[in-house]
Each structure stands twice: as structure tokens, then as C-alpha cells.
Symmetry: C2
Subunit: 240 residues, 2 copies
């Protein structure tokens, strides 16, 4: 199964200093790649909490992406936490050290921290990019600055591509309480299709949007048709 989970290392998000862009970006990208995102955990910049989150995400999904906590300062603890979660030491990567030396010249201790990787990890240096992508045992350590995270992810994204997830939706003018029994019947008839029901309480043209998601397109289409056939025709606003 192609599944993923995200750990956002984010004091700045928990304290509402900035809104997280990286979780939503990765959710959209993974969806487009056919990867099922199973959880997002946003945790403080504290090693024990990151270790637990990475372990939990690894147990829940094939791929784990971390966002943030990468760099030369005291609050950049993600590499150490990922290594601990994977039972690996932190070592210095020679290729990153060489690149840092070429860029900065004389390297301070803070510069050298940028070369830290979990022992046995993979360092991928996408052409033309300033920073490498560090990964180990399916855990990808991405920077928190959104432009850098996007750039790093784009350099490796094709390795996650899986069978597509098909999605359809139908919009109703009747409320959820009237739909509930028909939804129950549809869920029971199509166990391989994920069905979601989303009410609205504003002046949109519909009161409920029902979504159908699955790996098999004919099942997704059939589940939608099954529900539509059970509901009065004039309650259907539109489909997509």
C-alpha cells in the first residue's frame, strides 16, 4: 500500500506565529501521486516528542515526511530525533561537508551541523538545488521554509508515484439526516470506496456534498450511481 504520514516540527505553528503551508502542500502532492496520507502530527521542537511522532508515523505508513527543524541553530533538532527514532547514530556526510566548505570556506561548528545525517541515510542532491534531501528508512527530512520544502520534495517526488486515487462527488439539496440511511446502504454495498459527507450551513447551492474515493474507477462510479438512484432526482444539484 502506498501510504504516507507527515510530522510537522513546528513551535511557530503551535504558537500561531505562522500558518502551516507545508502540510497542505504535501497533502495535495501526495494525493496527486496516488499516495494515501494517513496522518499529520504537528509537534513542538522537542526531541522526545518528535521521536515518538516519527515512530508512530512510520508504523502507520510507508513514507514519512518531516517538515522543519533543519538547520544550524539550537532549535534544529529533527535530524537527531529522526536518527533516534530509527535507532541510528548521527554522522557527518562527507559530500555535504565538501559542498559547505566550497560555499562557506572556513567551516564553523554551526556550519558543520548542516552535514549531520542519520548513519546509513541517503543524501539526494537534485540538480541545481542549494540543499540536499536527506532520507533514511523511508523517512524524508525536509526543511521548514516552504520554498525549500517544495524544491526538495519536487526533486524526489516521482519515487512516490503510485496507482491513482479516483474521486467523484455529488451535491444534494437535502440535509444529512435525510441522506443518512442511503449513505449507510452505499457504504455497506461498496466497502472499497471511501465515502464522505460534508454539510454546509451557508447560502451555497447545496446542503450536502458527498465524496467517493477509491483505487478502482468503476467502483467509485458505481457507488455514486447507487446513492443517486436511492435519492429523489430533484434532490441532486450536480455531480463532478
Amino acid at each position: 500500500m502506498s501510504t504516507a504520514a507527515i510530522v510537522v516540527v513546528g513551535n511557530e505553528i503551535l504558537s500561531a506565529k505562522v500558518a502551516d503551508e507545508n502540510g497542505p502542500f504535501l497533502a495535495r502532492e501526495l494525493r496527486a501521486l496516488g499516495v494515501e496520507l494517513r496522518r499529520i502530527e504537528t509537534v513542538p521542537d522537542e526531541v522526545p516528542l518528535i521521536v515518538e511522532a516519527v515512530r508512530r508515523c512510520k508504523a502507520a505508513a510507508r513514507w514519512v515526511f518531516t517538515s522543519g527543524g533543519v538547520g544550524p541553530t539550537h532549535d534544529d533538532v529533527t535530524i537527531a530525533a529522526v536518527a533516534q527514532a530509527l535507532g541510528r547514530r548521527v554522522v557527518q556526510d562527507e559530500r555535504i561537508l565538501a559542498a559547505l566548505g566550497a560555499y562557506f570556506g572556513d567551516l564553523k561548528a554551526a556550519h558543520r551541523r548542516l552535514a549531520d545525517v542519520p548513519e546509513g541515510g541517503e543524501v539526494t542532491w537534485p540538480e541545481g538545488r542549494l540543499f540536499p534531501v536527506i532520507s533514511c528508512d523511508g523517512v524524508y527530512v525536509l526543511p521548514g521554509v516552504p520554498s525549500l520544502l517544495r524544491s526538495g520534495f519536487h526533486g524526489v517526488r516521482e519515487r512516490f508515484r503510485a496507482a491513482p486515487i479516483f474521486s467523484r462527488a455529488i451535491y444534494f439539496s437535502i440535509g444529512e439526516s435525510s441522506l443518512a440511511e442511503h449513505l449507510d446502504a452505499t457504504v455497506a454495498a461498496y466497502p472499497a470506496v471511501a465515502i464522505g459527507s460534508y454539510p454546509r450551513f451557508d447560502d451555497a447551492d447545496h446542503r450536502v456534498k458527498v465524496t467517493f474515493d477509491g483505487r478502482v474507477q468503476v467502483d467509485v462510479d458505481a457507488a455514486l450511481a447507487f446513492l443517486r438512484a436511492r435519492v429523489p432526482l430533484d434532490a441532486v444539484v450536480r455531480e463532478e
Copy 2:
């Protein structure tokens, strides 16, 4: 300690159908109330995963807020999961049933589900609001529709107000590697102040923003002054 955690019950967020507004909204509100947000978990609409997330959040924080999964349809499983996480049965609340009866007249099974609460839970009905806020043992079950979540939270928010968190920031024109040793010294000198370092790689007027957060204003101010005094004056762009 006044701490909180959020569980977002969100297939629609994990599948990137919608961007979560509720986590960022609650983060801003809690911050303004002086409540420290310790984690946000976004999980699928699946009872075992919600149960685990609620238990973990309860262990990590005084207040837990859930978002979504409340309503009359098959994917509305949050009440059942919260009750299970707290070791309580699900029962029907008489006051909600009476309100539903007054609104809908004859109640279907789907309507009755809206009256489900964890046994012993509290039902707060803020004046003029359509839906009550259901809570139990410090866990607040809020709806996923953003306007309803906001309305519900505003009806109870004053009960969470705590001592304010003070925040300041200083912007530098030098990079993180040059700041790192001075940040380390500041972190060591002011253990009660949370210090964050946020680099930029665009054409902003600064390269690094350093933030200082704490419950004691003089400590926050002193930590900022301590760092500023260690860095060349012309490296400081501004403070706030």
C-alpha cells in the same frame, strides 16, 4: 499549566479536498487566551485512530479540542471515539433530544444521533446558537464546519483564559550560522524563555527572525536584550 491539544478528524483534509481552517483558528485563539498548544493531530475518520489520538492529547495537555466527525451520518464517529477514549458509554442527552424534536418534529434515527453524548458529559448551549458544545473530562467536541466550530468555541472560550504569553522578536541581516553560538548562549541563560530561529531565503529585509516567548515579560525582554548585545549592532534590522 494551561495547555491544549487538537485532534482534527479529517479524511477531507488528509485527501487534500479542503484545507484545514480549524487548527489554525484554534491555535490563534488559544494563543490569545494564554493557552500553550502542545500538539495537533490530523487523523482519518476511523474510531481506533481517533481514540488513540484523544488519549495521547489528553495525556499531553489539560484541554483537548476535537474538530469534525460530528453529525448524523456514517462518517460522524467522533462522539463514539471520544467516549471510548474516556472509558464512558454513549448516551442520549434529553435536552438535545427535546430541541431536535422542537426543530424537526418527528425524529428519525439519524436525527437522534445528534443527541449522542459521552455519559456524564457537559452540554453547553450558548445563547442564540443552533448547536450545543459537548464536552467531557476536558475534551471539547467541536463540529468540522468552520463557521460552526468558531461559533461553538466563542461560546465557551473564556473558560480557558490563562496568564498571557508574552512574545517579542528581533530581525537580523546575518545568517543563522553566524547567530548560532549567540543563540546557544541565550538559550542557556534564559531557560524559561522559548527561543525560535527562523531563516529566510528570499528578498525580505532580514535573513533571520528570532522569537522569544514566555510567561514573564521581564525575562522575555531580558533574553532579547542579551542576544542583541552579543551581535554587532549593524546586524540588527529591527525589533518588535
